[in-house]
Symmetry: C2
């Protein structure tokens, strides 16, 4: 039984890592479609979204069955509950990537408003945050999880920078408003993805150290 | 032991209902501050946010302890896992209400761009969705949960309407861009709150009927 549980745990970790890989690909592809002006990349993002959705249901189900069947002790139970939460976060990242694609589709109908620098940078940081947050979970590395949370500020700063820059475009030429709005929305979807990765990082720290940093309660 | 578990379950339900009540109040107050141009209402929203954050940690902890201690069978386990998920959703609604307050603070520095009709309507529907989603959970009423999911479309339509209307303001007078942007963001925060309520509704349906409608998989 013990050995069976360990195998199931290993399998669960692999599934979540695979799901995180899909989320990372969706994030980078959705922005790539925009930057390289290639609408066909978007189709692949939608395919990956279908797969992520199916995985979410499967992982949820499997994890709850593991709890019911093995009635794990405190540490393993906390790990499995964290897995259920991470599963939701990953699925929502997929939703945000789809939101990016929807705005990108609109943007691809017209010439790009400006060369994109900050938005691809945001996508790059967010993608790495996703990867690191899952590695932190699987390897139970709170330091790596903390580094994810720290990078969230960087993404927030970029989002503010994108907003300020596009606001000046809109102010000086109302003809740019629609495209600027779509770019602002994309930057916000990327920020939300970084938030989801940060949620995972915070959960991992709580799981490993028993410290709840979600609301900075330990510091109080 | 059984009786003890039932008491804990009752207590957990009450805590979640109370937390949902706080979220509802935060939603309605954040929009009220804007509509009635009263900044002091915002302070109360921040106070409620502190309370929601503490409750989230407490409920999470308590629920995991219930699982560890009582090792509940399938139905109760599914209920407790759903409680953990709902707890996260409610906390995130609180975050969104704070986001509304931040935009409202900016807006209160200037005269209102236009009389607000759709945004208070969105807040009203979203607040009712929160209430109903929690009632559906506690009373295990899938029909009520379904009605929550249906209302999500109404909120989405209002969000699109707000966007289109404010876009015309921005196009015709660039001096309105900053305020229009803040109102658009508020409408998106309200939409996110409705999404969180919808997530709860979907979880309740899954819990009660074993049907996963989160990705319309049963329909496929």
């Amino acid at each position: 039984m013990e050995r069976h549980f360990d195998e199931e745990l290993k399998n669960l970790k692999e599934k979540l890592l695979y799901m995180a890989g899909l989320a990372e690909t969706m994030i980078s592809d959705s922005v790539k479609a925009l930057v390289e002006q290639k609408e066909d990349i978007i189709d692949q993002v939608y395919k990956n979204e279908d797969e992520i959705n199916l995985l979410q249901v499967e992982i949820d189900d499997r994890t709850i069955k593991m709890i019911a069947l093995h009635q794990p002790a405190a540490v393993d139970l906390r790990f499995l509950v964290t897995a259920i939460k991470i599963n939701s976060e990953l699925e929502r990242m997929g939703d945000q990537a789809i939101n990016i694609c929807q705005a990108a589709k609109e943007l691809l109908k017209q010439p790009l408003l400006k060369p994109l620098i900050d938005i691809p940078r945001m996508a790059e940081i967010a993608g790495q945050m996703v990867k690191d947050s899952l590695d932190a979970f699987v390897q139970q590395e709170p330091e790596l999880a903390k580094s994810v949370c720290v990078r969230d500020d960087e993404v927030d700063d970029l989002k503010d920078q994108v907003f300020r820059e596009l606001l000046t475009y809109m102010m000086s030429d109302p003809g740019t408003i629609q495209r600027a709005m779509d770019l602002i929305l994309i930057s916000r979807h990327l920020e939300r993805i970084a938030d989801h990765a940060t949620n995972i990082g915070e959960e991992v720290i709580f799981m490993v150290q028993g410290k709840d940093i979600r609301h900075h309660i330990t510091e109080k």
